[in-house]
Assembly symmetry: C2
Homo-oligomer: 421 residues x 2
């Protein structure tokens, strides 16, 4: 892979070399319809143009209209053989020694659009969104904060990947402003609840798996085949209003503390592009029940960073560095568990990992943990934060470093706007 | 209303007189595409035929293709003025003294299809499904069973309509078999969890509101305008695996204990048809916060029954009689609460009420409550049940009795099939 080279110029620090080729949906002009593309350097390759030029000539994609769609769902449904065919076709088409696109100026000008000119859209129509709780460090810190040092992690956590159903309608693309939610919260003791803008607005550093082919209702997916049902990963900010969440979540789980907005990065990095960065998942003790026991239990070495640009400032500051490989439950275990009761997944469904915290205080994935529920403010340049303030901008990034290249996710960003009344 | 009469014959005990006209989606032939219809007596009126004959001639529907769709979402988006226009048009078209359809044999034979010949489909594409917990009797019984007599209801329950996000993909139409889910459960104490088919499979007697026009992200819906965003109601069986649920639900709420299947009745009864059966909702104490305080707080007098036909038997037995008016939180409060944080609803979204239990032991809405978590089996003819067994069929029905007519929901049914391995 390291010896691949594209005729499209790729800056050395780019997240999008020919080894990556992540998929998104974009509008070349504000009035255009959305269409699928892949990122290459500072350009987007328009897949509807590539398809119209009959350059997808393999058996799976030759007669498919999957790239003439407003989202990637139809392509995702086709499964890994089609994904591998697309990847091989595109790596060849973009390679330095392949003349088809390189030497056809007219086609090139239609197919390659400068990234700074396009508008990115949500790449998938999301039928259902599920959010897991798969970092042990996050689970432990939350337990310590809310329940204290005796049994901070519930016994069920070590036996199954805990999850809840999230809200699909309020998932937005990176760059969308987030309006501070209003809601009920409860100070403590016997006082009545108060109502107003959330006082404890937080981010959650997550990634999410995008489901490819789904399953029929009543037919679980075997954990050792689960990877065939996962197209790739995105960065995800599961914005959380901690005061609303704390008051509402017993006994049925998070609801309005989460459903006001969830941000996704625009580029889906495929598992195929991430394969060189696969690593062993942590050993699980107790060993999982047979339906969760994998022959190979994989994580990925993906460095994750959270940058915060405080309101009114020009600079942003890194406040967390974590890594996808801190997850205890793998994405394939998450998917297999999700279907073991017969629940059907559909192409484009989203499985969030939960907040990815590492073992160090600097690798905690949300302000709740970083400030220990607001007790210890974090410093950001000349100012401090317990929770997010209006005007703060939060930017996630994630990347895997290869030999001379970087497979990256770009950014996942959002700015807090004040509550409306 | 009681003086309306249709030229279509309506048997005296029918749920579908001209006062009702509930909406569904049906296939007249197994190979046809689904299309919208309304129920009248033992017939379905095909709205795509009515629209093609240009009989929707009011300002909202004259140029709309909302009845040439595979679901009702586009019609629901149009809002109450269009719904009222459709109702007025259809009540006139079907009335005994209106010749247009009555005297046109060819049109009549195309437009009116015998109900026993059609296949009913899910009437809406459901983007998100939310399930509330709005019966105080149900909340109290669950609290008594799981937490004991001290504070069986959490203090937050009286301040807000508690809810969780449900799974949209596994919602099925009445008549679909339900496969017993497999999963993890935990016996008690320190023993390890076991895995297998659920041993505590249950029904939950619910109704659900179908959302009409939605709202933009960040723009809550005022509680006094919430009724304009609700098209109508359906019966809903929120099948539940109590053993799976009990083990998984702390701290993020129900997940696999619910997501294996949720059954809807095929006919959406409109709030306009239910209006004669509106009644005062219970007084709320403590009084709700201002954003939940309604000028008029309405419930509906809808009688609900659960019939169980035990495996291998010919007869079914009523095991619960409840009423929609037992709800503490109204559907308009549920909807307003759902959006107060800015969460966007979309046309076709579903808001379940939660199990509708009444104050009497005979009005409990699920086996968990009826058998007190399996301790006291219920008698059904010559047999007993703690929870559902393979082959059991559960049928819900609901209706409001008017003066000489019944506005009903038909049935919501499902049969339990054994687990697959």
């Amino acid at each position: 892979m390291g010896s691949l080279k594209s005729f499209v110029q790729v800056p050395p620090d780019s997240h999008f070399p020919i080894e990556n080729l992540p998929y998104g949906v974009f509008k070349p002009q504000p009035t255009s319809a959305g269409r699928p593309g892949v990122a290459i350097g500072n350009h987007v390759l328009d897949l509807s143009v590539v398809a119209s030029a009959s350059l997808f000539d393999g058996p799976f994609l030759k007669n498919s209209d999957c790239f003439n769609q407003p989202n990637l769902n139809k392509f995702l449904e086709l499964g890994r053989p089609a994904w591998k065919e697309a990847r091989a076709t595109l790596q060849k088409l973009l390679s330095a020694n392949e003349p088809t696109l390189r030497d056809n100026a007219s086609l090139r000008s239609k197919a390659l659009v400068p990234m700074d000119k396009v508008q990115m859209l949500l790449p998938i129509a999301i039928g259902d969104y599920t959010d897991f709780f798969s970092s042990m460090h996050h689970a432990k810190n939350c337990g310590l904060i809310f329940r204290g040092p005796e049994n901070p992690i519930n016994p069920n956590w070590f036996q199954l990947p805990i999850a809840y159903h999230g809200r699909a309608s309020s998932i937005v693309i990176s760059g969308t402003d987030i309006i501070r939610p209003r809601g009920q919260a409860h100070p403590s003791g016997n006082s009545p609840p108060y109502f107003g803008p959330s006082r404890k607005l937080d981010f959650e550093l997550e990634m999410a798996a995008v489901v490819g082919p789904g399953n029929e209702l009543g037919k679980p997916i075997d954990v050792n085949k689960a990877a065939d049902h996962i197209f790739g990963l995105v960065l995800m900010n599961d914005w959380s209003a901690r005061d609303i969440q704390a008051w509402e979540y017993v006994p049925l789980g998070p609801f309005l503390g989460k459903s006001f907005g969830t941000t996704l990065s625009p580029w889906i990095v495929t598992l195929d592009a991430l394969d060189p960065f696969a690593c062993d998942a942590p050993t699980q003790n107790p060993p999982p029940l047979p339906y969760l026991a994998e022959k190979t239990s994989k994580n990925y070495d993906i460095s994750l960073e959270v940058h915060v640009k405080p309101a009114g400032q020009e600079d942003s500051f890194v406040i967390t560095k974590s890594n996808f490989n801190h997850l205890y439950w793998t994405i394939t275990q998450q998917l297999a568990h999700h279907t073991i009761n017969g629940c059907n997944l559909r192409s484009g469904d989203l499985l969030g990992t939960g907040t990815i915290s590492g073992p160090e205080p600097e690798s905690r994935g949300c302000l709740l943990e970083l400030t220990w529920n607001g007790q210890n403010p974090v410093s950001l340049g000349g100012t401090t934060r317990r929770f997010l303030e209006d005007g703060d901008e939060v930017v996630f990034t994630g990347f895997s470093k290869g030999n001379g290249y970087t497979v990256g996710f770009g950014t996942c960003s959002g700015k807090i706007l004040p509550s409306t009344t």
